[in-house]
Symmetry: D2
Subunit: 460 residues, 4 copies
């Protein structure tokens, strides 16, 4: 396992990273510093010095109880994304086994290797896509979907790009999989593999929700959450055979994306369940800080938040408690509950944040800054007029508003709104998946029985 310091050092491997039009050394550039620090802290938290030890966070759960217990473990985005990637690969290994057994074997070796080496994996799935009305093979630019451009004895050469990639410049490995199902004739697009970020030809182009001189004093929630996101360019990149998990088997190309979908949604669901509790807490604190905690319509908005939080939590509970264990010993949560929960949480998330904005009032965006509070000239006015009463003083209330702005209305909140909405596919994709997982045949049978009818279509 690696310490935080070892992790930092590992990033100086010649990787090609771009920010704001310039090539930069990721470990030295201030815009990446906070993200690296929080990832390093996470390394230190799970570090065990014994040789061959595996991080508790990256372990494969083998029972429902282990699955439930690990919901208590915390990690930042890079580490939780690594766990999602490992579980995705193991789940997919099961599903491609009959078609490409050597791929399944390569995956299982690779997962063990990563767990022991304690490296961080980056999910690379979404292609540039070009014209969404056309299939991969029909695009004007054939690279609109990442593809194999050359096959050699020792591996393949790929070309293309993956978009919306989170954490690429600060991770180690690019777990790269097809964005969707492929059809016969699209063999070059049915490619899954994993390679180091430092592989020649790989370039990352990054943005973040922070700006170069941003003051984080008034951003307690997001201070360490401005992860880099962006493009990963694969400019004629060579992938050795032992890292190729799928190559041309179009019939199982979707297995990876479906597996990732499940684990990304479970992870997103867990995060949104926790965030929903946080929202309830802020709503209650803000109501109290405004002297509004006994007002009926405020209590009713809190009830709405509480019901939301409880519904989300119930889908997480139902999904975990109805998990299945595969032959290979991997615990796979129930997809139907996970998908419905993820959809509901994402679809109503901004409406819930709006309740908080409504309870808080305009001070969310008009409250003075911490530096105003510290000013000898006007600091006492800020305290005086931000205070509610003796038990809610102005400094406390000002800082509560800063935190609530960070949650609901600041630059990072805007980033989060899009990220939560799109993670695991947009709302429509989530609705479609939920419908597809549902046992519609059983429901139709119940309806026919209730109606006293039989339906020819059900007969066969």
């Amino acid at each position: 396992m690696l310490t935080g310091e070892q992790y930092r050092a590992s990033l100086r491997d010649g990787r090609e990273v771009y920010y704001d039009g310039e090539r930069v050394e990721v470990a030295d550039h201030p815009i990446f510093e906070r993200a690296i620090q929080i990832a390093a802290d996470s390394y230190d938290r799970y570090y065990k010095p014994e040789a061959g030890a595996i991080s508790d966070y990256l372990q494969t759960p083998s029972t429902i109880e282990e699955m439930r217990d690990r919901a208590e473990l915390k990690a930042e985005q890079l580490t939780s994304g690594s766990y999602v990637s490992l579980m995705t690969l193991l789940t997919a290994a099961d599903r491609i086994e009959s078609v490409r057994p050597q791929g399944s074997a390569a995956i299982r070796d690779y997962v063990r290797e990563m767990q022991v080496a304690d490296l961080r994996l980056v999910e690379c799935i979404t292609d540039a896509k070009g014209d969404r009305a056309k299939r991969p093979g029909q695009q004007e630019d054939p690279d609109a979907y990442l593809r194999v451009v050359e096959r050699r004895a020792d591996g393949v050469v790929v070309n293309g790009a993956k978009l919306h990639i989170s954490g690429a410049p600060i991770g180690h490995e690019l777990m790269t999989i097809p964005t969707k199902a492929m059809k016969p004739g699209e063999e070059d697009y049915a490619i899954a593999f994993s390679i180091p970020v430092s592989t020649p030809g790989v370039k990352t182009i990054n943005v973040t929700s922070e700006t170069p001189d941003m003051s984080f004093a008034d951003m307690p929630l997001s201070e360490f959450k401005h992860d880099p996101v962006g493009f990963v360019i694969f400019d004629h990149v060579f992938v050795p055979n032992e890292r190729v998990f799928l190559d041309g088997e179009t019939e199982v190309a979707a297995a990876f994306a479906h597996s990732l979908g499940l684990w990304v949604r479970m992870n997103g669901l867990k995060n949104m369940a926790d965030e929903a509790d946080l929202m309830c807490g802020f709503a209650s604190l803000l109501a109290e800080a405004n002297g509004l905690d006994r007002v009926d319509h405020i209590k009713d908005k809190l009830a709405e938040l509480v019901i939301h939080a409880t519904l989300i939590r119930s889908t997480l509970e139902a999904s975990i408690l109805n998990s299945e264990v595969t032959d290979d010993g991997v615990v796979v949560p129930n997809e139907q509950y996970a998908n419905a929960g993820k959809y509901h949480a994402a679809a109503y998330r901004t409406a819930m944040l709006q309740h908080i904005q409504d309870i808080a009032g305009g001070s969310l965006v008009t409250a003075p800054s911490s530096r105003d509070l510290e000013s000898a000239d006007v600091g006492h006015f800020v305290r005086k007029y931000m205070s509610t009463k003796q038990s809610v003083d102005g400094t406390y209330r000002l800082k509560l508003f800063h935190a609530a702005k960070d949650l609901t209305s600041g630059a990072h909140a805007g980033y989060n709104a899009v990220a939560q909405l799109q993670a695991g596919g947009g709302l429509y994709a989530q609705r479609t998946v939920t419908r597809g997982r549902y046992d519609l045949r059983a429901a139709r049978a119940k309806a026919l029985e209730a109606a006293g009818l039989s339906n020819p279509a059900e007969a066969e």
Copy 2:
């Protein structure tokens, strides 16, 4: 245990039943016939001839597994209401034990007696309430809430009425409990008991969603569900001491209503989870019958129904799997999940039914009757113009519309809309209870930690 025939006979006990302004013999009047028949069928289904046997449906579950298994058992309203009443009493027995131990003992004896005698209990809770802006003791008419008007050595005399009572004329026992919390000075209103429907002074005034000559040919879902509902009048009724569970202990008066609330909501949640599956089935069958099953916006409405059904089911799962077992061995489901689920199911139920109305189209209410279909003059036109294509013939499609009308748009559907909305309290009560059960202190602590703050109010 009783057979269906014995149950029928048991109703001829002199009970005072009114329908449409007239006193009637319940076992002979056609308007009650369907409800009695379905209750009798339920008796026959669970009948075991051995002496001392207890109906599987009325058994007290003692483990989470038993609790989950019995969700598969089916019964009509009168029998399921009896189970709810028994569980309510056992749960309340626990909660009043420290204040009125003799009441707890009387309850436990009574529950065993009812289980063995295989009798049907009717939930009597809601008072007339008079002016809802005033408390029981402040009403212009002191009988607006049922109350003790005389205390004797052998029992008490009560006066008042219970409203919205389902099944009273066809049940055996009136489980009668305070409608809400009582305050000191309201001792006469803190009264809980159970007595036979045939007790002198008890009168029931009934309505149903059927009309005297209603043809049930086109109502396959509700044919046997037009339960009598209405007023139960207690006109100076004597209750013997052994049937008095609470008398004057205002501090625990709410224990009964809260217990009933939990079990009614669990039962309602179970029914709405099943009904939601039924809705998905009908939506799918109707879409197919109209040739619309491949249309995007129709599939999207089905997705909405499926997500609704899955959310409801997940709260039921989470509530059962997170049950607690009392010292007395009663399994009590988790209230937070049950309440949130019941609220969500009730709040969005009509919106879901509207999706079905939207998918089905106007034929829901304009389709000809079964008798038109059988007409020598026009039956062939009905078949011809109701048919979609060879695989969906006109007779099948007509009957599917009849069933869907019965579910969504007929007289019984209107009754159901109100019943589902109001069961276990209206929407606002359900929101309030959900908010009250939520661990707000933990949520506030999370929010404070995220904001890097401490709050004086949390200090103690």
Copy 3:
């Protein structure tokens, strides 16, 4: 013009009417009596004895002021539908003029004839449709859409059926138009005409939301609104040339349906605006009758209803005040506002009714009947326990619940729910039309300007 009595007499013209599988004489059968009576009353209300007089209700408005004023006029369904049909024909006359001028002329003559003869027109538009996934010409049964089966020198013979037809057995003329746009090759389906209900080969098959022995004592709102609806069968019916408005001109086949859509939606919008005010009134009265009028969450539900009513009313105002007057002098309301308003009103109508159900409580469906109230045995109990306080006595409150049930939860309410949802096309059709009428090009130009961009697609 006709008096009510003359109208009644006019129905005895040999028309072929079916109800519940039997052929009936419409003017003598009790199930149609209420609908005939209300239509006759409407005749008497607008009757003017002068020769050549035209009903104020059926006049063609020629200015925006006249259009607005006539929103105050009231009429039952049959008469308002006749006005809608006349306006539809005049609007369509304008739109088909360049393609079939003799059709436009025939329409204008026909409209004048109908206005002077004071006859009632029935909108016949929706075909049986068979498999909705296929076009008219591709159906297994070619009659799934009404079509011309023979062309003679003096007219055409049509075969098929129109569904969801309201009022056919009690009206005079069947205004029959294509259900949607037609393509080349579908000339036989591009047929529009009007003929008397008594024409040989026309048969109507009817249902209503009343049942034979229904007591209307507790249905003050719907007592006279149980209109017959159902199928109109055209069994090889001859239509003379002077009554043929369109025959084979597929390119303008949609003009009739679009014109009808506009006028049906305007009429529906007007009715829903009035109904929304009625809902606000009932919500307020029920809150007061329950002693809940000062409770915050009740006032908030009332606010929701008021906002709904105001939004609907504003679209009606905006649509009328932005009307255009055609060259022919017909005032045509603004379609964009009318469509958006109709959609919003229909989409949220049941949610609004649910607020009323929530405010009212269970008594909506459990309150005793008027006959219980009049009973010597239990009437005094009904009054006593339905009363709130001296200012809200039990009789008043009981009758208020009966009316609110009739509005929200009875058999007619279920019928209304479907009728309001489907009138003018289901929700999806209304969304599509609203999107289609919107000036998207202008909105895109605004967005491009704001973004500082130009878009090649806008260039041409």
Copy 4:
């Protein structure tokens, strides 16, 4: 009238302005530069050199036509706020006339003076409020609401603060009015006046949604909209008698806030109607740029946006077309429509923005910056992988995403979300006002008539 240059110069009047804890010269500090520039541009746009000329934007409309025409005029926040302030004062002058005629006269003189001098007014209404559960006179800190602390022969001295004030450091006059209705005993809080920003004792503490080194290259919508907002401190400030509009007349204290409410909501409604069209435009452009414009669920989201835009526009139309003209010749728009429209627009605004986020996809927040696009190393990759097809090239699409991020998901979007929600009071206030303006008596009368009832409460 003033030119832009003269406006700039006018800001160097010794005003006490704070930003980030430091006192600054507003005309020289870069953080205020953009806001000053846009206000100066607005001066130049409306400038007329004739002596005594009045800006077209600040004119008082005297007919409904003028009112409607001026909806086409454009101005930035400072100028539109000045118009709102002038109309507010004129409307209030009418309403306080019977109680304080000298106040009405002072207002009318003042409005004319401001129109001719072409100065900019700042709306100062919301007090610090302290504990919202207590009235102004009951606060622990008596300055929680701004109040008169001394009355002199020539004027009054006030102390307190106004919060959520927009544009104070770049405007000329502080139009200061009570935040709400006052009761007897609260005379010191019933104070309305207007004074220059440079008055001794006035200090403004400001924040903005921009940060010091923010690059505006990728923010085409908000580049010039980062207005300063914050506290206006009145530290024992003297107001001369001729600028005092109200002093102690508690019975009409609310007239100012109600008048402001109307005009602020009208202005907000106008802005949200225009913004809603902009949203439709962006949704359409983004769908097209992603190749998704023919996908059903995308078209359906666009329909939802179009319906929203149309509803908002209809309330604006209905409000203007139903305006009333006061005796004094001021056109006052209809409050009922304006309030309902403002509420609906604000309540569903974020849901509409979420549709755009959903259509756009993750590129909203992960798309590279303009500087990446210009990079010699990676610019060609950005163009390549952002492009959809030949007709939608990568540069255009990237810039479209930047603009859409600025609208929906950036720092300014977060600021806007709160501002639009809170302008004219939060959602609850808007619901309450709408309910209060509605003619409930008429609606109740309709309901009673429909129910065939009379209600004692309506009798008087």
